[in-house]
Structure formats: structure tokens, C-alpha cells
Amino acid sequence: MDKEIYNFTFNKEDATFQFDSIGPKGKIRKLISYILFDRMDDGTPVLNLAFGDLEGNDQNISDTVISNNPDRDKVLATVARTVLQIIDSYNKVGIIAQGSTPSRTRLYQISINAYKEEIDEYFEVKGLTDKGWEIFKKGTNYSSFLATKKV
């Protein structure tokens, strides 16, 4: 994961990250928040990855806006970097990622595919199909993703 990323700030206690995407359309403030919402059978916490734009004086969060800044790879690399940070902080944790639309989910899938070799160094990634969870395979379309740190 040596790709270029945005500098970000984070609030460790709240597992929340923020950075500014910069392009021809201007500066778009991005928020990534990991919220505990479930536990696995062995007690491992499961966090939901929420990623969106901060709007309205940073009071609203949305991921339906198409910013069209030509920095998709840099943005996705930054999100991937925050996953590393969370897994480093929590150690034993599961992270669920789902896009709010099929095209957003597809973006997550493209990102995982792009970083597959590096991801495999640190993570186990599962993908969800209508038949259930399976070990992530390139070329299969998934509706959700689950990442855990390799033991």
C-alpha cells in the first residue's frame, strides 16, 4: 500500500478519521467512521465502516454526492490506510463495509482487488453473495465485505 494517500487526522477514541479531497471541484471534506454494532460468536467486536462527505458546515454526512474530483484512487487508498490504523489499534476486530449503492459497493470491490496482494499480508477478507459469506475471490461480485487481521 505504497500508493499516494491524503493526510488525515483521526480521533482514536471515537475511531473517526477526516481528510480533504482536493481537485478541480474544490475541497471536499471526507469522514470515515468505524462504529461498533455487533460482536462475533467469540466476542470479537464488529465495526461498521461508514465513509462519506461532510456537508453543511460539517454537520451532515452523505455518500450520495458525486464529487467528480479525479482522485478516486488516492481517496480509496486513504480509506484503506484507515482500515490498517483501526486494525492496529483494536488488534482483534472485524470491519464490515457496504456501499450505500451498488456502484459504491463496486468501488470497495475495485479497491480490494487493486490492493489484494498487500491486503493478504495483513487481512483476511470475506465477501457476501446471496449464498452467504465466502473467502474473497477476485472476479466475484459481493454486496458486503468483512475484514479481520490475520493471526
Binding site: 487526522t9 480521533n11 477526516q18 469522514l31 462504529i35 454526512i61 452523505s62 457496504q98 465466502e134
Partner: protein, 61 residues
Amino acid sequence: MKKKSVFSETLNKKYKAVEGGVSISIEDIRKSPFIIKKLENAKATLKKYPIPMHLFKENKN
């Protein structure tokens, strides 16, 4: 003192993260309709498709 893991050391060698403020509070994040919907969707997904513990066990073998 907590012993740093190899993962931690690799991460810190490769990337520098800046711990600092975020311009929205965690309370506002949790109240956000966007976040509420995301959590509802995630809960519904795990209710329908529980976390596959057997896949983790298979991977360890």
C-alpha cells in the same frame, strides 16, 4: 508499557498518522441519518447472514 507488534512497527514505518481533531462530534455522527441507515443495513445483513466463524477456522488450518 504495551509491547508494539510487528504489524504496528511496519505500519508506523510506512505511514505517519496524525492524531488530531475531527470537525464533527461522535454524538452528531451517531445521530446522522446516513450513519443510522448504514448501521441498520449492517445489522440486517448480519441477521440474515451471520459472521462465518467456520471460514476463519478453515483459514487457520
